[in-house]
């Protein structure tokens, strides 16, 4: 069944976390936008997307994540993710989302990833400054 998306924002140090719960689909657009605005309001060093509470991401949801990536690129902000099931990890690889955001196995790794690591993930597209 379709489940409403919630997107809560937490902070761990200079890193903002967005906890996604429910389906990442068209209905998630507003919540995701608000969460992004809240997460990036104070200029964090990085944003981490937590997909552990997500059971379904469809093509529209992927488009939303592409939108977040575009915003992150514009602001030169590293973006990382964890909690993806093997299936959605595969989809992130097929769509090449994995080339543009660092996917880690757990939250600590995502939060603690050295900026250099994150930058290198972003750097695969040619640098960290996209302004």
């Amino acid at each position: 069944m379709t489940t409403e998306t919630a997107a809560g924002v937490r902070r761990r140090g200079r890193v903002a976390l967005i906890d996604l719960v429910g389906d990442v689909n068209a209905a998630a657009a507003d919540n995701l936008d608000h969460a992004w605005a809240e997460a990036t309001a104070d200029g964090p060093d990085a944003v981490v997307l937590n997909f552990a509470g997500t059971g379904y991401i469809n093509s529209t949801g992927i488009a939303l994540i592409v939108g977040l990536l575009a915003k992150a690129r514009a602001g030169g902000l590293p973006i990382r993710a964890f909690g993806l099931s093997p299936h959605y990890r595969e989809i992130f690889e097929i769509t090449r989302l994995a080339d543009f955001l660092a996917i880690t196995g757990d939250e600590d790794s995502a939060v603690g990833a050295a900026p250099r690591d994150a930058d290198s993930a972003m750097g695969t597209t040619g640098g960290t400054s996209y302004g």
């Binding site: 069944m1 379709t2 389906d23 689909n25 068209a26 209905a27 379904y56 469809n58 093509s59 529209t60 992927i62 488009a63 939303l64 592409v66 939108g67 990536l69 575009a70 690129r73 099931s85 093997p86 299936h87 595969e90 989809i91 690889e93 097929i94 769509t95 090449r96 989302l97 080339d99 543009f100 597209t125």
Partner: protein
């Protein structure tokens, strides 16, 4: 010199001198009148004489056994001035007696010679312009006739093929530039039978198109009443014979299909033998019979076969087998038969044979004759079992219900990763069906069917009102999307193709279906057929 005979005409430009008095001469009513032309026959010795003459010729003094010279003398022509351009005699300037009744002087002759030297090239240019204009008009008429022929033919070809449950029809027709006489037809008959016709009229252009139209009309008139192929061809032949133009006839294959049983009766009026792809290879549909319109009183052998599940008939015209390569070798029957035996049936064999033909003739070569192919394919035998069949209102979010139900139904058939891939593809296909097919109209449902076979599981997702996607879809490029060069969306078809082993679209009536297939028994880590770069 034949071309000269019509252009060598007597012209009076004045007496007794030419240039200075020409205007005065024109004002004289009796001289302004255009005299009757004098034609010079190609074998008249006067032609050779004028061709080699140096300067004006004294007509009255000339002695030749020449009808044209006699005619000139009778018309009181005194001087004939040859008009020669680039060594070719292109006209003659004929002059009557001088008004003073004196002989033409040496100065007059010099002046006329100079005038001829100036006038001849100008006259030649004028002749060439007129010739080109005439050729252009001829070409234009020819093109108009071809266009008429094309219109006639295309108007008489079926606008669409019948939708028969359990059968797939496909047809291809491409006229040559000089439209030939190919045609095909599909005629509904009583008791759900269907007649298939392919034919070829000898000759090209409008005459062939008109005979094609007459043949088609005759077959359509007799088919529902007589049904049996042999009888229909016999009756059509009797009908066509009396009015068939000389040296024209029609080859025609006529078959009647009973879709429910696969029974296919056929007769052949001298047309290229069709082939059937069967489990045992390509089979020829041979039956004896003379072309239509050649001779009255003909009878036509009728034969039949039962088309088994998976069998595919290829009806074809001689434009296929008689296509030549640059060394003038024909494509040939053996090669076409081999293609039918080895290629998949239905529309696929048409596409593949066309590809082979192009390779055979070479690119950019004008097509020699019309090319027509029709396929009649019986769907493969149904060893599948219906596992699930349900409908969903076209409401946003309902794709979750579709993928959950399909997932539950096939959970024991697929390993986990492949099950997840199929579910994602089902979700995306259902979204597409609801959005693009049914425009999210809640009262128009999406139909989902799950079928299993020993080797595979198929999920069919159907909507209404959408033609097959046909053309290429934009391949999503994440970098382009991030750069704003592509819209963020557009991942659906990409995901579908990458998630399942096979996907195909088909339309039956107003139902458009996308079928997603996963092989059974494949390892969990075996990735579906498509590459990531699709």
């Amino acid at each position: 010199m034949t071309t000269l005979t019509g252009s060598l005409r007597r012209r009076f430009l004045g007496r007794p001198t030419v240039a200075a008095r020409a205007q005065a001469a024109v004002r004289r009513p009796e001289l302004a009148e255009d005299p009757a032309p004098i034609n010079i026959a190609p074998n008249d010795p006067l032609l050779a004489y004028l061709q080699s003459a140096r300067g004006p010729v004294d007509v009255q003094a000339l002695q030749l056994d020449s009808p044209a010279l006699a005619a000139l003398k009778a018309a009181d022509v005194k001087l004939a001035v040859p008009l020669v351009s680039q060594g070719e005699l292109i006209g003659v300037l004929n002059l009557g007696p001088r008004r003073s009744e004196q002989e033409y002087s040496t100065d007059d002759r010099k002046l006329l010679d100079n005038l001829a030297a100036q006038a001849a090239p100008a006259l030649r240019v004028g002749q060439l312009v007129r010739q080109q204009e005439a050729e252009a008009r001829t070409r234009e008429r020819f093109e108009q006739e071809l266009e008429v022929a094309r219109l006639i033919q295309q108007n008489f070809l079926p606008k669409q093929l019948p939708e028969l449950t359990g059968w797939h029809m496909a047809a291809y027709y491409r006229p040559a530039r000089e439209v030939g006489g190919d045609f095909y037809d599909v005629i509904p008959l009583p008791d759900d039978q269907v007649a298939f016709v392919i034919g070829d009229v000898t000759d090209k252009g409008v005459p062939a198109a008109l005979v094609m139209a007459a043949t088609r009309s005759a077959l359509r008139a007799f088919a529902p009443r007589l049904i049996e192929p042999g009888a229909v061809l016999e009756r059509a032949n009797e009908h066509l014979c009396p009015d068939m133009p000389e040296k024209m006839f029609v080859t025609c294959f006529y078959g009647v299909l009973e879709p429910a049983t696969g029974r296919f009766r056929f007769a052949n009026a001298g047309h290229d033998v069709p082939y059937v792809k069967t489990a045992d290879g390509a089979v020829e549909l041979r039956a004896r019979g003379m072309p239509l319109g050649l001779m009255a009183g003909m009878s036509y052998e009728q034969r039949e076969m039962v088309l088994a599940h998976g069998d595919s008939v290829l009806l074809h015209s001689d434009g296929v087998v008689e296509a030549h390569d640059p060394q003038r070798r024909m494509f040939g029957f053996p090669r076409l038969k081999e293609a039918v035996a080895t290629y998949p049936g239905g529309a696929d064999v048409i596409d593949l044979v066309l590809t082979d033909l192009l390779a055979h003739t070479g690119p950019g070569v004008e097509q020699e004759d019309d090319i027509t192919m029709v396929t009649i394919q019986r769907a493969p035998g149904s060893t599948s079992r219906l596992l699930l069949d349900f409908e969903l209102p076209s409401v946003e979010g309902n794709e979750r219900a579709a993928l959950d139900r399909v997932g539950a139904a096939v959970a024991t058939l697929l390993p986990e990763a492949r099950l997840d891939r199929l579910k994602t593809a089902v979700g995306e296909a259902t979204m597409n069906a609801m959005e693009h097919g049914n425009s999210y109209r809640a009262d128009v449902p999406v139909c989902v069917r799950v079928l299993t076979e020993p080797e595979a599981v198929h999920v069919q997702i159907s909507d209404r009102g959408r033609p097959p996607s046909g053309g290429p879809t934009e391949t999503p490029d994440l970098e382009a999307k991030l750069a704003g060069l592509q819209r963020p969306r557009g991942w659906g078809l990409f995901l579908i193709k990458n998630m399942v082993d096979e996907s195909r679209e088909f339309t039956e009536g107003d139902l458009h279906t996308l079928e997603l297939s996963m092989r059974l028994g494949a390892a969990d880590d075996e990735h579906p057929g498509g590459t990531h770069d699709d």
